[in-house]
């Protein structure tokens, strides 16, 4: 696993291979994910079918995509509360463009630019303006939502070209749904840049100790802006997938996405104080929530109860992880 040395010292601490496994940073989440899977497959005959598992991935793909962006932001020591609103804003931008018969690639590009722009604003506020990330992105949460409502006049935009829906929403690559393919690409690119490139190293350094990073010559302001910018792009991709899957762009879409994304990151071992975490962890975190939701749906458990259970699992996973780290 690349980058394991960032947050774990298992190579040096471990005396035996079993001990290595126990202290491996993903141990707890993998165990939780597998146990959930096993329990679900006993309770529901449908759970362990290829079709259903692909469905879990499909349902999780948007959360995974935006959680990648949120994870990067959290790694720098920040937070992003504007995820859902920017997903909606980029979605309606895209929808409006498509309605205006802008070619699909350009419409997508413009949505991505809008996402990037919100990220630049967040990044500048946080790094140059020294506004706490919580506050800056809280502002974005409200402003982007408002803008989406203004653009659409509060109405949904719907009926889009078939080729757009196929590519971003309902099509398949071989047997894998396109949203899953897109999310996978986002995950791989992000994990690669975090673990293999200078940019990734700087992100961890800034989250670990921004002052030490600055004194070591890291351009902290620039790197933070780039991170929020990349996050904005992932939200635009998320917004695009959502629009294509629903065949409609809604100004009120994406409410609560930020919380799912932050939860995925935190369950996956990302430290809210920055500098620790990986994209793999976030993917596992998102899958835990996805499997849980899917299983509970299969079992016909009411969505009210689901919310309670999911809340419990989020806190429980992190609690177990913290206790294990203390031991």
């Amino acid at each position: 696993m690349p980058n394991v040395d960032v947050s774990s010292d298992s190579k040096q601490v471990g005396k035996s291979s079993f001990r290595d496994l126990l202290v491996s940073q993903y141990f707890v989440i993998i165990v939780i994910l597998l146990s959930l899977g096993i329990i679900m497959s006993f309770l529901s005959p449908v759970f362990l079918t290829t079709r259903n598992l692909l469905n879990v991935l499909l349902q999780t793909s948007i959360n995974i995509t935006v959680a990648v962006g949120v994870t990067m932001v959290i790694l720098t020591g920040g937070i992003d509360l504007g995820v859902g609103s920017v997903v909606a804003l980029t979605g309606v931008t895209l929808g409006a463009m498509l309605k205006a018969n802008v070619p699909i690639p350009f419409a997508f590009l413009i949505a991505v630019l809008v996402g990037a722009l919100t990220g630049i604003i967040n990044g500048l506020l946080v790094s140059k303006g020294r506004v706490p990330a919580f506050v800056a992105t809280l502002g974005m949460m409200s402003a982007a939502r408002g803008l989406s409502l203004i653009i659409t006049g509060g109405q949904s935009i719907y009926v889009f070209p078939k080729s757009f829906l196929n590519f971003f929403g309902i099509g398949y690559l071989w047997f894998i749904p396109m949203p899953v393919v897109i999310a996978a690409v986002v995950v791989i690119v992000a994990q690669y840049s975090l673990s293999q490139t200078r940019f990734g190293r700087y992100v961890y350094a800034i989250g670990g100790n921004a002052e030490a990073a600055r004194l070591a010559g890291v351009k902290v302001t620039l790197m933070i802006v780039i991170t929020y910018l990349i996050a904005g792009i992932t939200y635009a991709i998320g917004g695009t997938i959502l629009t294509a899957r629903l065949n409609s762009a809604q100004p009120i879409a994406g409410v609560g996405y930020e919380l799912d994304a932050i939860a995925a990151a935190v369950i996956g071992g990302t430290s809210l104080s920055g500098g620790i975490g990986t994209i793999w962890g976030t993917v596992l975190g998102a899958l835990i929530m996805g499997v849980l939701r899917n299983g509970l749906n299969l079992l016909n458990i009411s969505s009210y109860i689901q919310q309670v259970l999911i809340g419990t699992v989020i806190v429980g996973a992190v609690l177990i992880d913290r206790m294990r780290n203390k031991a």
Partner: protein, 502 residues
């Protein structure tokens, strides 16, 4: 003063991973005395006082009070037994008033109909404060007080809790000359009233002025306890501390002074430093001496682009530096090793490898990829060169000892391939062995033609290492001495100013 000690520590040992901090040390304290502990950084002073304050537990040894064995297993227990520690960083709540701080946790004693009787609390505070001979308003907020005043509040707080033994860790580090005198008056008052004081300081003059007995520690061992401050002459005392003569452990290499690499002209920052002008040459070690707070660090940070400055010009390697930032200066060949390695020098949760290569990742990476092979090669090279002790270069730096952490900071600077290095307190808090390795390294660097600035509060270090010494006081340069003319007394006199030294 020949009474029997009431507090006795016998055969106290304490070790940390990789370091034996205390080896069978004996220490005792009499009523109404000021017992000074003297030793270099890393001699074991802070470990000893941490044991006394209950912050650390000894590995072996016995502590008795009035003949009764006691266990100091928590700070609370130490408080109950009458110990109070005044650390360099105070434990005060800046947003609360003086009175609220003095009686923090004791509010029960001021209950009046279920609420706190503030008037009574202020009155009581005033009593303590006036006893100590200071004029501080009990209703003033801590954040509005000077460091010296805050210190007195700390002492009042200790007294209000019935402290019999007050441990002071470098209490004068941040005080001006006048404030030091006031503190000494407070200490004398405490003595007269039966309080005993364990006093830790690097400043010999203070120890001679205020101390009754002196215990000298070196490398975790007790060297000797002097029954009075005039038992041995001063220079001998230094020899006891250091264990060998200065020249032995800082071998100075003679180098050729090359061309000018840095010129600073009239650098000023309002309220911090003023009119700083000096030059640094290749192959030269330039020392910056002065008391803590004299502005040395701030000047260095401004030169390195880490802090802003208002006026002045900096030429580095023949070019004027405008709009400086650390990233820019590192790229053009300057590197600063900050004074606080944990907060500024290292990213603790990253590996040795990742820390060392951070200043110039370009050296080992293309646009798309950091080369793991190249990274291992260069890091292993520096690991060998500096003998960083670690099972793996992928180990996180937070698991290393202080000395090895400092070596990682040094490795960063070497890796940055700089033409000029600024060392801010390069040997703070590390053991003597590592210290001399660092001195060797600095000597090697200047032989290679690198210009080095050393900022240090340790006079022997400055005197032993540097070709030239600039002394700062209260934000201005007050003197410059060549190596040949420099003595501890001369440098100290300049640093303290008129009347600072008898």
């Amino acid at each position: 003063m020949d009474q029997k000690p009431f507090l006795v520590m016998k055969n106290i040992s304490k070790s940390f991973p990789g370091v034996q901090a205390l080896k069978s040390v004996d220490f005792d304290l009499r009523k109404s005395e000021v017992h000074c502990i003297l030793g270099e950084n890393g001699a074991g002073k802070s470990t000893l006082i941490k044991i006394l304050s209950g912050a650390l537990r000894e590995d072996s040894g016995v502590i008795t009070i009035d003949g009764e064995p006691v266990t100091l297993d928590s700070p609370r227990k130490a408080h109950e037994l009458g110990f109070a520690t005044i650390y360099q960083e105070f434990n005060l709540c800046p947003n609360l008033s003086v009175a609220e701080n003095i009686f923090l946790g004791e509010e029960k004693g001021f209950k009046k109909r279920g609420i706190i009787d503030r008037a009574k609390m202020r009155e009581k505070s005033k009593e303590y404060l006036s006893k100590l001979g200071v004029n501080i308003l009990p209703s003033a907020k801590i954040s509005s007080l000077t460091v010296a005043q805050q210190q007195v509040v700390e002492i009042s707080k200790a007294l209000s809790k019935g402290a019999k033994i007050i441990i002071m860790d470098e209490p004068t580090a941040a005080l001006s000359g006048d404030e030091v005198n006031k503190l000494f008056n407070v200490i004398r008052y405490l003595k007269e009233n039966g309080v005993s004081i364990v006093y830790i300081s690097h400043r010999l003059d203070e120890i001679f002025e205020i101390g009754d007995r002196i215990t000298i520690l070196r490398d975790g061992n007790k060297v000797r306890t002097l029954e009075s401050t005039d038992e041995v002459p001063r220079n001998e005392l230094v020899a006891l501390m250091v264990g060998r003569k200065l020249e032995d452990w800082i071998p100075k290499v003679k180098t050729e002074k090359g061309k000018e690499i840095l010129r600073v002209s009239n650098l000023s920052r309002a309220g911090v430093f003023e009119n700083i002008s000096f030059s640094l040459y290749q192959g030269e070690v330039l020392g910056f001496s002065g008391l803590v707070g004299s502005g040395r660090t701030e000047v260095m940070r401004a030169i390195f682009g880490a802090d802003p400055y208002d006026e002045g010009t900096i030429w580095f390697d023949g070019e004027e530096i405008k709009k400086s930032a650390p990233s820019k200066l590192i790229a053009s060949g300057m590197y600063l090793l900050p004074e606080n390695r944990k907060d500024q020098g290292l990213i603790l949760q990253m590996s040795i490898c990742q820390n060392i290569t951070l200043p110039k990742l370009e050296r080992i990476s293309s646009v798309l990829k950091i080369s793991g092979r190249k990274e291992r090669e260069v890091v292993n090279h520096h690991k060998e060169e500096l003998s960083i002790k670690t099972p793996s270069i992928r180990r996180l730096v937070k698991f290393l000892s202080g000395g090895n952490q400092q070596k990682c900071v040094l490795a960063k600077s070497l890796y940055s391939e700089s033409k000029m290095l600024i060392f801010d307190e390069p040997t703070r808090g590390i053991d003597v062995g590592t210290k001399s390795e660092i001195y060797d390294l600095i000597n090697r660097l200047v032989v290679d033609g690198i210009g080095v600035i050393v900022v240090s509060s340790e006079l022997p270090e400055i005197l032993g290492l540097c070709d030239r010494i600039i002394i700062m006081r209260e934000g201005i340069i007050v003197g410059e001495v060549e190596r040949e003319q420099a003595t501890q007394e001369l440098v100290m006199q300049l640093a303290l100013g008129e009347g600072g030294l008898d």
